[in-house]
């Protein structure tokens, strides 16, 4: 690739191109986008680096002191005089630390579930849109049927069935993966629908005919030509889906069918916290719930902004 050196001299680098692109320009001129982006990045980073940031390891029983239980935020404990920024729960676990660790689970489940839904949805959408006919009819009718159930119900159904098949000793370990599959499978429909619609438009364009004329196979055309042209709406849905998946996970965990107490997600923390709300220990519920709200809102606002920015009609 001797020529590539010459090209980099004349054409700007990838990074500077991205910086000067319209999308980046719009981003720099939208306070909401910048704010929601910073909040998301901050939350994601603090979840990733939870072991380094968290003052305590809430899952190490050795580090827990039951005497620290029910310590209000920023108030020294009456017995141990330890101070916790967001207080502690009934077992003396630091709420701040449990939130950081809980967010790890929530984000991991969210990202993994959306990725799964996206892969299934994009593949089925491309096949459905490109081939049409019977294949299209079958895939889209399955999608229609799934849409008649609330997605949380579908997730609960899948979760319940999967749990029945898992041996009891592995249940806690498998719970996270089952959760991912359950949310992912309840989420593919919107990806499939959008991708199918975009594919129907793209497949009639002349560049697809040109590729067919060269003799490329349907698979090659779908994945090397059409896929990259249907990705921008997918990106938007993926972002909004991420927020929905995090909420779905929290809902399932809140209902007690999601993440187990040994690996508490934000939803599990909220479920634990709601038991103490009326006895005065509001912080056990409030801080996990506020974190969930912030995370979901930031991701959602980013998705909304992305949809507007990528929509040529709103330019």
């Amino acid at each position: 690739m001797t020529h590539s050196h010459n090209d980099t001299d004349t054409t700007p680098s990838r990074l500077s191109r991205a910086w000067h692109s319209d999308l980046a320009w719009k981003f720099r001129h939208s306070p909401i986008a910048m704010l929601s982006m910073s909040v998301t990045v901050l939350l994601v980073l603090s979840a990733i680096f939870a072991p380094l940031i968290a003052p305590h390891n809430p899952f190490d029983p050795g580090s827990l002191n039951l005497m620290n239980g029910f310590t209000p935020p920023l108030t020294p404990n009456a017995f141990t005089t330890d101070t916790f920024i967001l207080g502690t729960d009934d077992q003396g676990r630091d709420i701040f630390s449990t939130i950081l660790y809980g967010m790890r689970i929530s984000l991991f489940v969210g990202f993994a579930a959306v990725s799964l839904g996206m892969i299934i949805g994009i593949t089925l959408g491309l096949i459905s849109g490109y081939f049409g006919g019977i294949v299209d009819a079958v895939i889209m009718r399955i999608a229609d049927i799934q849409l008649t159930f609330p997605s949380i119900l579908v997730a609960m159904l899948i979760f319940g069935v999967a749990k029945g098949f898992t041996p009891p000793q592995y249940r806690d370990e498998m719970a996270i993966w089952v959760l991912i599959i359950a949310i992912g499978l309840s989420d593919w429909v919107q990806f499939a629908r959008v991708v199918r619609g975009a594919t129907l438009v793209e497949k009639h364009k002349e560049y697809v005919q040109a590729a067919r004329l060269i003799g490329r196979s349907a698979t090659a055309i779908i994945f090397s030509h059409i896929l990259r042209n249907v990705m921008s709406p997918v990106l938007v849905i993926a972002t909004i889906s991420l927020a929905l998946a995090i909420i779905a996970e929290a809902t399932l965990s809140f209902l007690g069918v999601g993440a187990p107490p040994t690996q508490p997600s934000l939803g599990t923390l909220i479920r634990i916290g709601q038991g103490f709300l009326f006895s005065g220990e509001w912080w056990i519920l409030f801080f996990p719930a506020a974190t969930l709200l912030m995370l979901a809102l930031a991701v959602n606002l980013m998705g909304d902004w992305l949809r507007d920015a990528l929509n040529p009609k709103l330019k």
């Binding site: 364009k205 005919q209 004329l213 990259r228």
Partner: protein, 567 residues
């Protein structure tokens, strides 16, 4: 007295990349009863002038200097309410697409009477009568019945007549017609232009006719203003401007117009503004494999038939079919340019897609170089055929994948058909890009960074990548400006001359066909009406339909012949 006067008009579009002057310092004067042509290529600013007159500039565009006066009254500075009362009443507009300028859910009669009542303040009864008269005047038969119909029940030409009737409702002084016939077939185009001409003379309406088509200008307008990159380069009586163009841009523009009467060896290159780009045919020819001349025709089509379902039913007998191509047979000799002409819907593009295998056949055979290539089960024959034929599409904006780099676009056919490794691939693509006059640096860019003509060159480079023997060109220049069209057509002629390529050239544009083709087939409603040598077809057409088509060609008699290659 001058009806409409534009003085020193400048329209600016501020954006984050700086302010863009779409029109700078344009002058134009329109007299009553006059048809004033505003001609230029895409991006010349001609439509912007029309929008500026009507106060319909899209934000953030605005008039930054200059004045527009209507009957000596300044209208360029009016607020939106005053402009609103002027628009539609004193100045009317005819748009390019008659389908989108009528409300599809309201009956034609209602749209007309409503407009009449709004502008003239007459009673429902009088308005109805006026609507009847107007439809009659614009040549719509049986107006009483037509008033009760919806726009979709009208054909394209009839719809444009309704739009014209709508524009006439308020008895305007000025009509601005922006490409009023571009979406229509030639036959309909001629009728609509005649109608506009008659109405202008009869009602003393001043018409500004915005178009890119020199034929329309030459046949219809009294005066013409030529625009180039936002500036007026020349203005004057149409005869003078067309016959003795003064400005070098006008000269090159007129020289690039395909002539219906004489066959030129090459189109004269438009060299204004440095837009002429080299096409290195000699370099390309050096490494081109010498085709072994075969006996008999290169491509032979027998009884080609294609039906599209228009109403599907589970019971076979109840399905309805549209026969798009009906039992067509012809031969194309090696090294020829074979033309297919016809109006839209005649099935000419379908023939191209059937031959190339993009659509499955419903009947008939295609032989290429003696071998049957129309059997979808014979994969080996198909694969060989694929390498030998390529296609150049009409729309250079949709025929290149917008998310692929030019390097990958051109490399795709080479990768597919040869075992060349990626080390050889890049130099090969660079070589092709050099040959079509784009240069190596084009490889790293995306299609949207190129103009229409440059994109069509990328298409040509892609088509030539596998060194094919047969090239299908489906309206390759109908989306391009006339000067770019001349360049692309010259490239195609070079391919035929120097590489011995055989071309199937599909077009609705008869002058272009005359310049390009050796033999021409005329199609109508899926049937092949006649097939003759080009010269014979244009001088002694056999069928009445061909005669009619030839009669509709723009005459272009008064056009300057300066700079033409008349050998």
């Amino acid at each position: 007295m001058t009806l409409l006067n534009i003085e020193n008009l400048t329209v600016e579009y501020p954006s984050r990349h700086g302010s863009f002057k779409a029109v700078s310092g344009a002058n134009l004067a329109l007299e009553p009863g006059e048809i004033h042509g505003l001609v230029g290529e895409s991006g010349a600013g001609k439509s912007t002038v029309g929008a500026a007159i009507l106060g319909l500039l899209e934000a953030p565009g605005h008039i930054s200097s200059g004045e527009i006066t209507l009957r000596s009254r300044a209208i360029s500075g009016l607020d939106s309410a005053a402009m609103q009362s002027l628009r539609g009443k004193t100045i009317s507009m005819i748009f390019q697409d008659p389908l989108t300028s009528l409300n599809p859910l309201i009956k034609v009669g209602e749209q007309l009477t409503e407009t009449i009542i709004t502008h003239l303040g007459v009673s429902q009864q009088q308005a109805h009568q006026r609507a009847l008269d107007l439809l009659d005047r614009v040549g719509i038969p049986d107006p009483a019945l037509r008033l009760n119909q919806f726009p979709h029940q009208f054909s394209g030409g009839m719809r444009q007549r309704v739009v014209i009737a709508l524009a006439l409702c308020s008895e305007p002084d000025v009509i601005i017609a922006d490409e009023p016939t571009t979406a229509l077939d030639v036959a309909v185009q001629a009728q609509i232009l005649d109608l506009i001409k008659d109405l202008a003379a009869e009602r003393q309406v001043g018409v500004i006719l915005i178009t890119h088509d020199m034929g329309v200008i030459a046949d219809t307008t009294d005066r013409v203003t030529v625009m180039y990159q936002g500036q007026v380069v020349e203005t004057g009586p149409t005869k003078t401007v067309m016959g003795q163009p003064q400005h070098p841009y006008t000269q090159s523009l007129i020289a690039a117009v395909p002539r219906p009467q004489v066959k030129l060896r090459r189109f004269s290159q438009v060299s204004y503004g440095g837009r002429d780009t080299r096409f290195a045919i000699e370099d390309l020819a050096r490494n081109w494999p010498k085709a072994t001349p075969s006996d008999g025709p290169l491509l032979s089509v027998r009884n080609l038939t294609k039906k599209f379902p228009i109403a599907k039913s589970l019971i076979p007998g109840r399905s309805k079919w549209l026969t798009a191509v009906d039992d067509i047979s012809f031969d194309i000799n090696s090294g020829d340019v074979f033309g297919i002409v016809g109006e839209s819907g005649s099935g000419k593009s379908t023939v191209a897609r059937l031959i190339s295998g993009l659509y499955p056949l419903n009947g008939g055979t295609v032989h290429f170089d003696g071998a049957l290539v129309s059997d979808p089960k014979d994969k080996a024959a198909q694969q060989n055929f694929r390498r030998d034929i390529q296609m150049i599409f009409q729309d250079p904006y949709s025929s290149l994948n917008p998310r692929m780099r030019v390097l990958d676009i051109i490399a795709e056919p080479i990768r597919h058909h040869t075992t060349r490794n990626s080390h050889d691939l890049t130099p090969r693509v660079h070589e092709l890009l050099d040959q079509v006059g784009l240069g190596k640096s084009a490889a790293a860019k995306y299609p949207h960074e190129f103009s229409g003509g440059q994109r069509q060159r990328i298409s040509i480079a892609r088509a030539l990548a596998t060194q094919p023997r047969f090239l299908i060109c489906d309206e390759p220049t109908s989306a391009l400006d006339v000067s770019i069209q001349a360049q692309i057509l010259n490239i195609l002629k070079d391919l035929q001359d120097h590489l011995g390529l055989t071309l199937l050239f599909i077009s609705h544009d008869l002058p272009v066909v005359r310049q390009m083709c050796d033999r021409v087939a005329v199609m109508k409603q899926g049937k092949l009406l006649e097939l003759q040598d080009t010269q014979a077809l244009f001088t002694t057409p056999k069928t009445a339909y061909t005669q009619e088509l030839l009669g509709l060609m723009p005459r272009l008699d008064g056009l300057s012949t300066q700079g033409l290659d008349l050998r």
